[in-house]
Amino acid sequence: MKLSNIIRLPALLGAMLLSTAAVVEAEHTSNWAVLVCTSRFWFNYRHLANVLSIYRTVKRLGIPDSQIILMLPDDMACNPRNAFPGTVYSNADRAVDLYGDNIEVDYRGYEVTVENFIRLLTDRVGEEMPRSKRLLTDDRSNILVYMTGHGGNEFLKFQDAEEIGAFDLADAFEQMWEKKRYHEILFMIDTCQANTMYSKLYSPNIIATGSSELDQSSYSHHADNDIGVAVIDRYTYYNLEFLENEVRDTSSKKTVGDLFDSYTYEKIHSNAGVRYDLFPGGAEAARSRLVTDFFGNVQNVEVDGSKNTTLEEDMLALSKTIAALRKKADEEEAISVGKEKSNAPEPETDMKNETLVTHKSQFAKPLTDDNWLMKKLSALGAVVGCAVLWQMGSWLDPAQK
């Protein structure tokens, strides 16, 4: 072994480190999709169809259900007015049933609220929330956020009851960025005056696009006469058309720029907007991102070379070490346990008794019993106060007479 080589190696290894952080463009390792419909009722059939068709597309391109958060406020498939029960179609030709037999809705009905949406993005959820309903992203995750519903200038209505503001959305994204919860986000929104919704965003690494400008409506594409309502919005329709025709599988090299270039006023009947300025590298870098970076599940797999036999040897060595370690640990434990036993055999039994006792005493208890005395005192104070007020009132009354 050459001495000089040995000495140089660490220097070399170390040498690349600092520059690494700057030079190597960190790739993303997982893809997530947050697909939100915000309106309910039968005449908003098209909004659910919008979301479901995007859901179908991202699933087709390989994002697993565990990484898709689907929010559907209503169930069109089971609506009594649906002439085709159990199905949802986004096209009058009714070729593809979007509801199918393999659909996983994460938030449904009245669970679709502004609060739940913001909780989802910021992951401020309780312990009881299952993993499938959480956005478990990290700094290597690309996220597609697609929203549709009825909106206006800088707001999007949720279920006719509340609305999310452009500021709320921007703050939620900022919290995600602060906690390193995304690598890049593609934000798409199909609603009236949609472009105002992304105007307030201020966190980096976001590409945003919307269907219509301020004071412009976003129109539906066509209605199905048998279903009786419009089945899809124009903006989503032409997005889908591009995705179906140009992006056939995950190996597609179409870029986000190509997708955005396909939007025209003639097709969409409103001015679709795009926002690049949050993206490092501006329009050029943003446009060069692949469509599958957001709509597909890109995995940079590492193929193993041929089998290496050293592995097995390693394993054998391992087992031996473990045997030795275990033996040693067991012996030590035995010694220490022996010592403890000889020292204090009685407390142990006491402990057992105690645990038994604590097990027995299971009666209803308040969830938190901190400040118990204060609570009782303040309640007493309130009662006494009321009594005094009453007394005073009845004392003042005869005094008047």
Binding site: K59, P64, L318
Partner: protein
């Protein structure tokens, strides 16, 4: 005037208003009696003035208005203030930001390395130690990662070995040539040397010392590289200054960080057997895990816990049907839409290990892979690793195999085991015990940095979002985090350090993701007006008007009184 007053007092409806109502009644009753008298005079154009109010009535009215205002100011305002202010617990913002910027803690990993030189004289050994330490210090350009040598006497050798904080033991043995081998079972580096290479007690330089130093450096090179990569990518200032760059090494390091899973105290391992037909329908997975994976899981147990479940899926079609799979096909091989791969059991992240029974093969096409083929002599491969996700192994079996035996599972399981090590972020070089102790140091540095950056995020968030509430549980979490971070920082490189870093990270996460720190964060001013105006407007109008009227009346009375006084003086 009286009518208006009676309505607005009536609305209040407590004891106070009941006296005022009687008051207004009496005051109205007096003018009611009078109109009859000047009925004849009403024909004249001048309107009849009501008789002057009684002084006691005026005084009572003033009291009424004053008491209403007092209630509003002393009771209403504080209640409104109290109920609408956002509770923001005090956070030690500066300290939190210091942690995030790396000012609060300089991560230092002092590694103790003991040298056993039984065959050397005490003084010779001391000299060798001194020289080696010098050589090490000269080589070292990263002060955060410091190797400190110590001599262990033969008698204390056994005891020394038991000390957990000795990272490596060097055994110096006389031999024929200078060689170095890592003991595969223990963190021990055996170095042999020819008799003439040992330095005398007085010599000022020694090739053996340089050699030992070089060996040590190369043994810890990967750990050092990884740790300083971690520090630099978290923008912790370190005095580590590189001179050049090898792209391959940089790439491999970046790849390593992308590949490894985020630290979690528990991982859930899912072993799945997928087959495209009805067979095989059972496998000896439990025995295979016991034989080929359990030992490694046991070794990792101080750092991670593992839970395991297994499944068999028949008639599972892969995402790609080609007989020969290219590298591009592999990424879409997993049929994510149909294969049930995310059990979401418990709160632990899942690592997937898939055995797919079929005769598909992987074609290695890229140049790099071709080289590997040339070396290994095989032109296909059976398995691939998906970063942060798991491993797929293609197992080809005879068609009529109904049961997969332990032997058939040996190769897949061994592959899974080695992939599990790289998924958990274990470094590649060195002997296994050394790799594991390195892993625990890397993980504690990683956790320390993550907890610090979470603190920084929370602090910046608290500063940026003025309207977000900060419950006191968050402040508790932050202070706990800081305490444990401080302890972790002091004990970095020891087993205790990992434990503290783990607690700190968990607490920081809990503080950041505090459930109640949500809600509608932003209210535009128009919204506030829209909320308050319908409520407070109708209440405020009579209050303000009553006050203004009374002020006007009071000024009028004063002026009249002054005029009267003047008139009296003139007289």
């Amino acid at each position: 005037m009286t009518a208006r007053r009676s309505t607005d007092h009536g609305a209040a409806g407590d004891t106070l208003s009941s006296d005022t109502q009687t008051a207004t009644l009496t005051s109205t009753s007096t003018p009611m009696a009078t109109p009859l008298e000047p009925a004849t005079a009403a024909t004249s154009s001048t309107l009849e003035e009501p008789p002057p109010e009684k002084l006691s009535d005026v005084r009572r009215r003033i009291w009424v208005i004053v008491s209403f205002w007092l209630i509003v100011l002393l009771l209403g305002l504080p209640i409104w203030w109290k109920t609408t202010t956002i509770h923001r617990a005090n956070l030690p913002l500066k300290e939190m930001l210091d942690w995030a910027d790396g000012k609060a803690c300089r991560p230092v990993f002092p590694l103790r390395i003991s040298i056993q030189a039984n065959s050397l004289q005490e003084q010779e050994a001391q000299n060798l130690l001194r020289l080696t330490q010098h050589a090490l210090d000269d080589l070292n350009d990263f002060s955060g990662h410091h190797l400190r040598l110590q001599l262990s006497s033969p008698a204390a050798a056994q005891k020394q070995k038991d000390e957990p904080d000795t990272a490596l033991t060097i055994r110096l043995l006389p031999g024929e040539a200078v060689t170095a081998t890592l003991d595969p079972y223990e963190p021990v580096l055996d170095i042999t040397y020819p008799p003439n290479a040992a330095p005398s007690a007085t010599s000022a330089s020694s090739t053996l010392a340089t050699y030992v130093a070089g060996q040590l450096r190369s043994t810890f090179a990967e750990e050092q590289a990884i740790i300083s990569y971690l520090l630099s990518s978290n923008s912790i200032p370190s005095d580590y200054r590189p001179q050049g760059l090898t792209p391959e090494a940089a790439e491999s390091l970046a790849k390593r960080t992308t590949r490894s899973l985020k630290y979690a105290p528990t991982y859930h391992l899912t072993f799945s057997l997928f087959t495209s037909g009805p067979l095989p329908s059972s496998w000896d997975i439990e025995a295979a895990i016991q034989d080929y994976m359990k030992p490694v899981l046991d070794l990792l147990s101080p750092i991670h816990n593992f839970t395991i479940d297994t499944q068999v899926q028949l008639y599972a079609s892969p995402g790609v049907q080609n007989q020969v799979l290219s590298k591009d096909d592999l990424s879409s091989f997993i049929n994510a839409a149909e294969w049930p791969l995310s059990p979401s059991i418990g709160g632990a992240p899942t690592v997937n290990f898939i055995v797919f029974v079929g005769n598909q093969t992987i074609a290695l096409s890229s140049q790099q892979d071709q080289d590997a083929v040339a070396e290994g002599g095989l032109n296909t491969s059976q398995s691939w690793l998906i970063p942060q996700w798991g491993t797929v192994y293609l197992l080809s079996l005879p068609h009529d195999t109904a049961h997969v035996s332990v032997d058939a599972l040996k190769q897949p399981l061994l592959t899974f085991t080695s992939h599990l090590l790289s998924l958990t972020g274990t470094p590649n070089s060195g002997s296994l015990p050394l790799r594991l102790s390195t892993l625990s140091r890397i993980r504690s540095a990683d956790l320390l940095l993550r907890a610090s950056s979470t603190l920084g995020s929370l602090a910046r968030l608290a500063l940026a979002l003025k309207s977000i509430s900060i419950p006191s549980s968050v402040a508790d979490g932050v202070s706990k985090t800081i305490v444990h971070l401080r302890r972790a920082c002091e004990t970095l490189g020891e087993a205790e350090g990992l434990e503290h870093a783990r607690i700190a990270e968990a607490e920081a996460e809990r503080a950041f993701f505090e459930k109640s720190m949500v809600g509608q964060l932003y209210f535009p001013d128009e919204h506030k007006v829209a909320v308050y105006l319908p409520l407070l407007g109708p209440v405020a109008v009579p209050l303000v008007m009553g006050l203004l009227n009374e002020l006007k009346a009071w000024r009028k009375r004063r002026r009249e009184a002054a005029e009267k006084r003047k008139a009296k003086k003139k007289e």
